[in-house]
């Protein structure tokens, strides 16, 4: 393992996917190697984007949403596994993590700082609920019209894990995949030292408030600063509580390091959704974390 080190140097490749700036960092012998290997990983990210996007007409998500209240759609193994996982999360978060909560987007436009009408929210909430999703015989069906699902909750993290796995299979031992801040690490720097990852200050765009050393596993961050508007001194962010329809506001930012990026991502989202109970939830997972609450106080494990 150590003899390869001296011949490898670190390369960064940037690309755009899932509406965001992404990068692949890896150590390889020559630049052409890097291009070729990284392309496999980029292709995998784009494949997942096409298959699970809300926007493209031929994505399976679009097909399922079109059939809401009508016939069941058969799922391939990958899709079925993702829905099983979503069910697990729904149960373990007491219904807070709900893949059908995307319809709330129809009430909140973050480019337009206005609060939605309560009746509108109630109507949307009546069209939500993972318990209304029928999963059997490897098919999915919504029992109600107007329901929608999307993989926003862990789609990017899932893509990061799969892309990292592709790189691992191609022989990469040092590097990571970064999809707009959702990251999966394959191995430390060629020297053996960890990658130092800066966590953004939730109130100062270009400032870093902490640096985390990472060599393996996933790192995800959720915050109230990615998409939001402020009205009358109060911040309304894009993380919406499916039970009330309103944004959560207890945490400014939550970063979690877990063995898999999907796991890190779900944990940050669930912490944001659980608000005050988020801290004890984080501690009971045993994962390492860094979080800042609305009063600016830091909380960490490790």
């Amino acid at each position: 393992m150590t003899t390869e080190v001296s011949k490898q140097s670190t390369h960064r490749l940037h690309f755009k996917a899932m509406g965001s700036a992404c990068e692949i960092v890896l150590a390889a012998e020559s630049y052409s190697d890097v291009q070729a290997i990284a392309q496999f990983a980029i292709d995998e990210v784009l494949r997942i984007e096409r298959k699970y996007s809300r926007y493209t007409d031929d994505s399976i998500i679009a097909k399922i949403n079109q059939q809401a209240g009508k016939s069941p759609i058969p799922c391939d193994d990958e899709t079925w596994a993702l829905f099983q996982f979503a069910t697990q999360l729904f149960e373990k978060s007491d219904g807070l993590f709900d893949m059908t909560s995307g319809v709330l987007r129809q009430a909140w436009d973050f480019k337009n700082p206005t609060l939605p009408q309560p009746e509108k929210l109630q109507e949307l909430i009546s069209r939500m609920g993972w318990q209304k999703v029928q999963l059997q015989n490897q098919s999915i069906r919504f029992s109600q019209e107007g329901m929608e699902i999307d993989l926003g909750g862990f789609g990017k993290e899932y893509a990061a894990d799969r892309a990292a796995n592709v790189l691992k299979e191609k022989g990469v031992n040092h590097g990571y995949v970064n999809l707009a801040g959702d990251m999966r690490f394959i191995g430390p720097k060629p020297s053996g030292e960890p990658w130092m990852i800066g966590i953004q200050n939730p109130r100062q765009r270009n400032e870093v408030i902490a640096t985390l050393p990472m060599s393996h596993g996933g790192l995800a961050t959720s915050g109230d600063y990615e998409k939001y508007f402020e009205l009358n001194g109060k911040r309304y962010c894009h993380v919406l509580n499916p039970k009330t329809g309103y944004p959560v506001n207890y945490w400014r930012t939550v970063s979690v390091s877990a063995p898999i990026a999907v796991l890190a991502g779900c944990t940050t989202t669930m912490t944001m959704l659980k608000e005050e109970q988020g801290l004890s939830f984080l501690e009971s997972t045993g994962f390492d974390f860094l979080a800042i609450d609305s009063s600016g106080q830091f909380h960490t494990k490790k």
């Binding site: 990958e78 796995n165 997972t285 045993g286």
Partner: protein, 398 residues
């Protein structure tokens, strides 16, 4: 270091979420199986063990060591053991880990010279060291172990190899092991000199996940040994120079989700070429009571037949031991070779102090009586024997 935090090192919620995430296709890659623990662990346990033996009542006058009128049941102290054990488990990297255990016993008290009679004082100090190296691969593990223990009159050395292999879904795990021991006996009474006892044991086992709340294990054991098996400190003790035994053990753990409790049941059948057959039944109920505490009452029942060459006690000959039968090649008047039943009640309390540390306390009371045998006639004329043990332990992950 390991890419995956070992399931058992994460608290319950983390482990459950990790299990769920790992089910997604192609997110984990090669390191899907058991890998070296990410954290090291240090454990300590202190044992205080005390035996006592009931002195026969006045009905068999002259049989015993004290005035039988002094009380309805008087007791003589037998062996007292105070032991400290420490165990360190250290991961070396994601594929290797090592462990070391050190146990020191200080033994004092008295032990019978024949049956439950003629208690003779003794004092000894034993130290045992056990080290092992484990290799982890995607399908299974290999463990190489070396052990050594020494006391004034006895040295034991051994080497063992254990392999485990799991199926793809990790619901079935096969185990195979072999151990070789070479012991040296040099009793302080010089009855024999530089005797040896060599043995090999084999193990074959399977562990099967039966449901989300059930896991079962079967183990088949085989031992073959030759050498000095007699007890040099006992009067009239001449045992065969070979011993083979076979064991069949089955265990079942069942979790009751609604009650937040688990039952742990075990049964072991033992048979050997000395004519001894035994059954051991173990049952434990582990109850989580909140705030990191758990309480586990346990019961153990044991029954064994006597060795072919066991010489029954004869109180009418007291204070002289009965002679072995005329012309007998092998004979023993050791209580442990007799036919009896044993019953133990225990209680274990565990408190998880924080994510990395837990403390435990166990109390157990054991009794042995000829009349408690499961079937057949238990050995006669043996004073009931009792033992109580207290264990206090601490485990810390770092």
């Amino acid at each position: 270091m390991a890419a995956i935090k070992h399931h058992k090192q994460l608290p319950e919620l983390g482990a459950a979420l990790l299990s769920a995430a790992m089910a997604l296709p192609c997110v984990m890659g090669v390191a899907h199986a058991e890998s070296a623990p990410e954290k090291g662990t240090l454990s300590f346990k202190y044992l205080d063990y005390k035996e006592r033996q009931q002195i026969a009542d006045g009905a068999s006058a002259g049989y015993g060591l004290s005035d039988s009128k002094s009380g309805a049941s008087a007791f003589d102290d037998r062996i007292r053991v105070k032991a400290t054990a420490s165990k360190l488990v250290l991961p070396i990297n994601s594929e290797w880990s090592m462990s070391g255990t050190l146990i020191t016993d200080s033994i004092s008290g008295a032990s019978p010279a024949y049956h439950t009679e003629a208690l003779t004082g003794m004092k000894d100090f034993r130290r045992a060291v056990d080290t092992s190296l484990t290799h982890y691969s995607p399908d299974g593990t290999f463990t190489l172990g070396v052990n050594h223990s020494g006391e004034r009159d006895y040295v034991s050395r051994g080497v063992s190899l254990l392999a485990t292999r799991a199926t793809e879904n990790k619901n079935t795990t096969w185990t195979a092991g072999i151990g070789v021991n070479r012991d040296q006996i040099n009793p302080s009474n010089r009855i024999v000199f530089n005797e040896t006892k060599n043995g090999t044991d084999l193990l074959l086992g399977v562990t099967q996940v039966m449901s989300m709340n059930d896991i079962v294990q079967f183990n088949l054991g085989y031992y073959k040994g030759h050498g000095y098996y007699s007890d040099p400190y006992k009067i009239y003790d001449e045992r065969p120079r070979n011993r083979n035994h076979e064991t069949l053990q089955t265990r079942w753990n069942h979790h009751f989700s609604e009650l937040n409790a688990t039952t742990r049941l075990a049964y072991r059948f033992y048979t050997d070429n000395w004519g001894i057959r035994s059954h051991t039944f173990d049952a434990e109920w582990v109850q989580n009571v909140g705030w990191g505490w758990s309480a586990a009452p346990a019961i153990r029942y044991y029954t064994q037949t006597a060795a072919k060459f066991y010489v029954e006690a004869d109180p009418s000959l007291s204070p002289f031991p009965p002679n072995p039968p005329m012309g007998a090649q092998y004979f023993s008047e050791d209580q442990r070779m007799s036919a009896f039943g044993g019953l133990a009640f225990g209680m274990k309390l565990v408190k998880q102090i924080n994510l990395d540390t837990k403390v435990d306390f166990k109390f157990e009371q054991y009794g042995q009586k000829g009349s408690w045998i499961l079937s057949g006639k238990g050995s006669q004329g043996l004073a009931p024997f009792y033992a109580r043990s207290i264990q206090v332990g601490l485990t810390h992950a770092f």
